[in-house]
């Protein structure tokens, strides 16, 4: 990389904030349309009754919870990864961390909406909040859904803090560069940051503690999400493997999401100088590892089921591998392994395009995986007389597409307000933490 002076870096990274082209508004309008559509569909659902979804007995969860698990999974890229890299003090992380952490904050918020969206009586969702209410009743803390409530909120708060703290110095930077209303706004955001040695020191140690605290939280979150299933005596759900299985899957899909996001930023914000092939290469290696880990888990899960030969579980195994769900199942295997593995394993293919292709496949594959964990089991529960099937309706599909558009939209807006790459960390990176020569 041709040496850039700190001021050039500042200029490059602040450009998206100060310059706005018509493209920005076009993109916002486009994505916004989907989001609005999703909210309209949801309003219709609340008004008419959740019957407008395709869910039916015995498949009471389908797209809703699939998206819930999927988005929570995506959220595991950011904070977790950047925390690990922070502790490992991997210097290549510096341009990557922020765009990763942003994914966490937004994906988590989107995912957390689904437990509310999917309620039969969403207007009573607040009954999940533990407070001494006039109903004289507390939530049932034995319910995995209550655990979700605590775990997700902890992770959300943690991630937002983890994301925001390192932004403060950059906001101060923007404050100093900006004029007019922007200056006033960023003055407030910057909290009066000056960059005294004490501030820097405290920031660093706070980030250190956060990094340590957030990792176990991240792990617990997706473990608990997996327990939503593992706690129920449903064929192929009631399994001890689910915790790690879900966490691995989450990181897997998360990294894929991160790679895609980075590629887009690189292209549209002209950050070629900062998000370089080496970053994609490193993340690609990480993705490769997770892909192998995923195959390992799927194999372990299927093997134990097959070897144990429990009738109820075998029904589900065959339903997915040979039965009605086979097409989806094998698509998943292709997307999560057969496509990414060669691309990522062969150095020549582990280019930016290569990793992006692999990531796209993984995102699709992991969404299918969530769906295949939920629906086939529910539709083949023990007594064959009461088996059932499931077809999504336009309402579910609209809401789902809305979440993807919403994610992108939030991302675009964020990169408008905040330098998507941490400027000061990058500068520090330049001359190795300013050590005396």
């Amino acid at each position: 990389m041709t040496e850039k002076t700190p001021n050039q870096i500042t200029e490059d990274l602040l450009r998206p904030i100060f310059q706005t082209s018509w493209k920005f508004f076009a993109v916002v309008a486009f994505l916004g349309a989907f989001v609005v559509a999703a909210f309209a569909a949801y309003a219709y659902q609340v008004y008419t009754g959740i019957g407008v979804w395709g869910i039916r007995r015995p498949v009471f969860w389908a797209f809703d919870i699939t998206n819930f698990v999927f988005w929570i999974g995506i959220s595991h890229a950011g904070t977790l990864i950047s925390a690990i890299l922070r502790l490992a003090n991997a210097t290549w992380r510096r341009p990557v961390t922020r765009c990763a952490e942003v994914i966490t904050a937004f994906a988590l918020s989107i995912g957390a909406m689904f437990p509310i969206i999917h309620l039969g009586r969403p207007w009573l969702a607040f009954w999940l909040i533990p407070y001494g209410s006039e109903r004289q009743i507390w939530p049932n803390f034995r319910s995995p859904l209550a655990w979700d409530f605590f775990a997700i909120n902890t992770y959300l708060i943690g991630s937002v803090v983890f994301l925001t703290l390192p932004i403060i110095p950059d906001w101060a930077l923007v404050r100093d560069k900006a004029e007019g209303w922007r200056r006033r706004v960023y003055t407030i955001l910057a909290l009066g940051w000056r960059g005294t040695p004490r501030q820097w020191a405290r920031l660093e140690s706070a980030m250190h503690i956060m990094a340590i605290a957030i990792i176990p939280v991240a792990v617990s979150v997706h473990t608990i999400v997996s327990w939503d299933f593992a706690m129920a005596p449903v064929p192929m759900w009631h399994s001890t493997i689910f915790g790690p299985y879900f966490v691995a899957g989450a990181i897997f899909s998360g990294i894929a999401g991160l790679i895609i996001a980075m590629a887009l930023l690189r292209k549209f914000l002209h950050l070629e100088e900062y998000l370089q092939p080496v970053h994609f290469d490193n993340l690609g290696k990480l993705l490769l590892m997770m892909s192998l880990l995923w195959v390992y888990f799927v194999f372990a899960e299927r093997l134990t089921a097959w070897y144990g030969n429990d009738p109820a579980e075998m029904v589900v195994v065959w339903a997915t591998q040979r039965g009605p769900f086979a097409p989806l199942f094998w698509t998943m295997v292709v997307c999560n392994f057969l496509i990414p593995f060669p691309i990522l394993a062969i150095k020549r293919l582990r280019t930016i395009t290569g990793t992006v292709v692999a990531s796209l496949a993984v995102v699709i594959g992991m969404w299918l995986e969530r769906f295949l964990i939920i629906v086939p089991s529910l539709s083949h529960k023990y007594l064959p007389y009461s088996w059932g099937d499931y077809r999504p309706t336009w309402v579910e599909i609209t809401i789902m597409s809305g979440t993807f558009a919403g994610m992108a939209l939030l991302y675009v807006l964020f990169s408008k307000a905040v330098p998507i790459i941490s400027v000061w960390e990058l500068k520090v990176g330049k001359h190795g933490v300013g050590s005396r020569e």
Binding site: E134, Q136, I137, P311, Y385
Partner: protein
């Protein structure tokens, strides 16, 4: 929290805590109490009768006060009145014994049905268009009376025809009196699955023109020939109660139940052994069993006497019916036949039942006689654990002298040339009471055209159905819960029963009891009709009729007729264990019968399948298709809801390339229909089965235009001896026509599907 609310809650929860009492400290409260936890409301249980089928089960109706929107002389208002909330069997009643079938449970919806006729109607549009206008009762009755007087004036009383569903007890008595004194021929009773053949057979064999009562509870061996006695046939509730006893009622004793039928019915599903003999070969099989028993001298006492002597070659030991002989014709191996015969003889009292399809072909009577002979050979006629006949109390009339079968309907409706010399004038006026021949007779009978030709049609039913929609005048009856009802069951109990019940609730709509209307009409007509029907109301007539019972030994002791009457109403009827059946007098006949094999009537090579109709365990013969509860209850075997279906044997379907749910066309010589295919492992490969019940053109919002009516494509054939509709004698072919839609509640056929994949 508002203080007021707090008081409310603690009040409720206080009560709850008291209820939950045991082991629970009173501080433990249920918040947001489900209403189940609250004090139940006050209810009274009023005795009544289920009128949905001839069995005549005694019921109790749970009545609670409530507010109902009602129209009283033109103005709509809220009225506090007793409302029927639940119907249960009357534990004291000899037929129901406190139990009910699904149809009886659903009777509630007859009263509160949204499409009940709410008042008298006069036709405005063309016939059958269903366009009516509301008129006053006075005008309606005036119009009817005017018509009848017009006929009198023209000396055409004989051209009045009264078409009704089967009548018994006082209801029939009044109607018959009205018709005879007016000068009209007796009423024509019509139902799809009528029992005329069985009555005739019992008359010939045992001198009892009556549907039998089977003492299953005490039988040690039961063999059924097509008789769906746990479904809708005969007296289902009484039979189901007995079935429970015969299975597990007697410690250490469990009756064997063998079912012979080509399609596994709900009854057959409960059999210990199921034998899909060729359709129509039931009679031969019965005689095969008799052959073995006689040959091996397994029977006790005299060989069947009269019942046997009716059968060709009986005296010579039925040589023609050796197992080896009949095995190919019945499709049952000689070994099985022999074994069954031995088991039958070894486990007396043993009883054989026959009913349904085997009797519904032109040669049906011979099959019934064959089974009667078998019963006689097993010495189980009018013996404990055998075939019994419910003693008929004085209030029950003997079976109507008139024929009550389709041909006579056809005759009366002036379609076919009269079969006998009795010259029947064309019908000038038709009175309809619930009978629905448009639905219940094949299109081949051209009933619709006939109705179009009749100058005047008045209907009493409280719903517009496929037939009554043709009426010019509708005088809606009360629902059975709103009116006086009586019934004298023909079968089901081992002793005489007369059920009489007062209205359980007040009428919801502007309706009138059909018999009150009839009495009113009679009085307005005056003359002999009025003299023959002196009573003001049906209630009065019932009370008079009941006097005859007080003299008899029975369940009620009373010092005067009023006390007797009140006790009778409180109990829901009168019954007596001390009344013996009248001595049997079999008619003399030189005729000898020999059952033939499978029905070959109108057999064409291109119609390879025997078309088997089954009464729906829920919708019965279709008369209950208007009740949403029954529509949504899954059929016991197919688990289908809200729809028709065509049952095809698994192998046959494979051969024809038909898959579950495919839309198939069923075509007979007389029409075709479409319905989704249902693959059924429990049906013979050469049989296609379809449930009766759906396919109404006009029968309330819940049944109209739903599914297909298999009756519509039946060949217009009857059993010659009785003229009953021969509904099991049609043959069909099927072809796949595309994608259909089955609405099944149950997913898999098998409990371990993966073993069948």
């Amino acid at each position: 929290m508002e203080r007021r609310d707090f008081i409310k809650i603690s009040a409720i929860t206080g009560a709850t805590a008291a209820l939950d009492s045991c082991g629970q400290p009173d501080v433990q409260l249920i918040r947001f109490i489900p209403e189940e936890e609250l004090m139940p409301g006050v209810a009274t249980w009023k005795p009544s009768i289920c009128t949905l089928c001839p069995a005549g089960c005694g019921t109790l109706v749970k009545v609670m006060d409530g507010d109902a929107e009602v129209i009283r002389n033109g103005t709509l208002g809220i009225m506090k009145m007793g409302l029927a909330k639940k119907i249960e069997g009357n534990p004291k009643h000899p037929i129901s014994q406190g139990k009910l079938c699904p149809r009886g449970q659903a009777m509630l919806q007859v009263t509160y049905h949204p499409d009940r006729i709410k008042g008298p109607l006069k036709r405005t549009g063309p016939r059958g268009s269903g366009q009516f206008q509301e008129i006053s009762w006075d005008d309606a009755i005036k119009e009817l009376v005017a018509k009848l007087q017009e006929l009198q004036a023209a000396k055409q009383q004989a051209s009045l025809s009264f078409l009704t569903n089967p009548l018994r007890g006082q209801r029939r008595e009044l109607i018959e009196r009205f018709l005879s004194t007016y000068g009209a021929p007796p009423a024509i009773a019509f139902e799809v699955f009528d029992e005329a053949v069985l009555r005739r057979a019992n008359e010939l064999s045992f001198g009892r023109p009556q549907v039998p009562t089977y003492d299953l509870a005490r039988a040690n061996y039961v063999i059924g020939f097509g008789a769906d006695f746990l479904g809708t046939w005969n007296s289902p509730v009484a039979q189901a109660v007995a079935f429970g006893k015969m299975r597990q009622g007697r410690p250490g004793q469990r009756t064997k139940f063998v079912m012979v039928e080509p399609r596994l019915s709900q009854t057959g599903a409960n059999a210990d052994e199921w034998i899909p003999a060729r359709p129509g070969s039931e009679g031969i099989l019965a005689l095969g069993l008799a052959h073995v028993i006689m040959k091996e001298k397994l029977h006790t006492g005299a060989a069947a006497g009269r019942a046997g002597s009716l059968i060709e070659g009986w005296s010579s030991g039925l040589a023609a019916y050796s197992p080896q002989e009949i095995a190919p014709r019945t499709g049952v191996t000689a070994e099985v036949i022999t074994r069954l015969a031995r088991e039958l003889a070894a486990h007396t009292p043993a009883v054989a039942l026959i009913g349904g399809a085997p009797l519904a072909t032109p040669d049906g009577l011979a099959r019934a006689l064959a089974v009667n002979a078998l019963n006689a050979l097993l010495d189980s006629v009018e013996k404990p654990g055998g075939v019994l006949f419910t003693p008929q109390p004085p209030m029950a009339q003997p079976q109507p002298a008139t024929t009550r079968h389709p041909e006579s309907i056809a005759e009366r409706l002036g379609l076919l040339a009269p079969k006998d010399s009795r010259e029947t004038p064309p019908v000038a006026a038709l009175l309809l009471d619930q009978a629905n021949p448009v639905f219940g007779l094949g299109d081949a009978w051209k009933i619709r055209d006939a109705l179009q030709r009749i100058p005047f049609i008045a209907s009493f039913g409280n719903f517009l159905d496929d037939t009554s929609v043709f009426a010019d005048l509708v005088l809606p009856d009360h629902s059975p819960l709103e009116s006086w009802v009586d019934s004298t069951p023909e079968a089901g109990a081992q002793h005489a029963v007369v059920s009489i019940a007062a209205p359980a609730v007040r009428p919801l709509h502007n309706t009138r009891a059909m018999l009150d209307v009839l009495l009113d009409v009679a009085h307005r007509l005056g003359g002999p009709v009025a003299d023959a029907l002196p009573w003001k109301t049906y209630e009065e007539a019932l009370k008079t009729g009941a006097k005859a019972l007080q003299a008899l030994p029975g369940s009620l002791a009373a010092k005067d007729s009023d006390e007797f009457w009140n006790k009778l109403l409180a109990q829901g009827g009168w019954w007596s264990t001390e009344i013996r059946p009248a001595p049997a007098r079999p008619p003399e006949t030189r005729q000898r019968f020999a059952p033939v094999g499978a029905a070959r009537a109108d057999h064409k090579e291109d119609s390879p399948f025997c078309f088997l109709l089954c009464a729906s365990p829920l919708l019965s013969d279709g008369s209950l298709a208007h009740l949403p509860w029954l529509q949504e209850t899954p059929d016991p075997l197919s688990t289908a809801m809200w729809s028709s279906w065509v049952e095809i044997n698994t192998k046959t379907a494979e051969r024809l390339g038909i898959k579950q749910g495919d839309q198939v066309e069923v075509e007979s010589q007389h029409g075709k229909l479409q319905a989704p295919a249902l693959i059924n492992p429990g049906i013979a490969p050469d049989v296609i089965a379809m449930p009766v019940g759906q396919g109404h053109t006009n029968y309330t919002r819940y049944a109209s235009g739903r599914g297909a009516n298999p009756i519509s494509i039946l060949a217009p054939m009857v059993v010659p001896e009785t003229g009953s509709l021969a509904w099991a004698a049609t043959r069909v072919k099927i072809t796949k026509v595309g994608e259909g839609k089955l609405a099944l509640f149950g997913a898999e056929l098998r409990e371990h599907p993966h073993e069948h994949r």
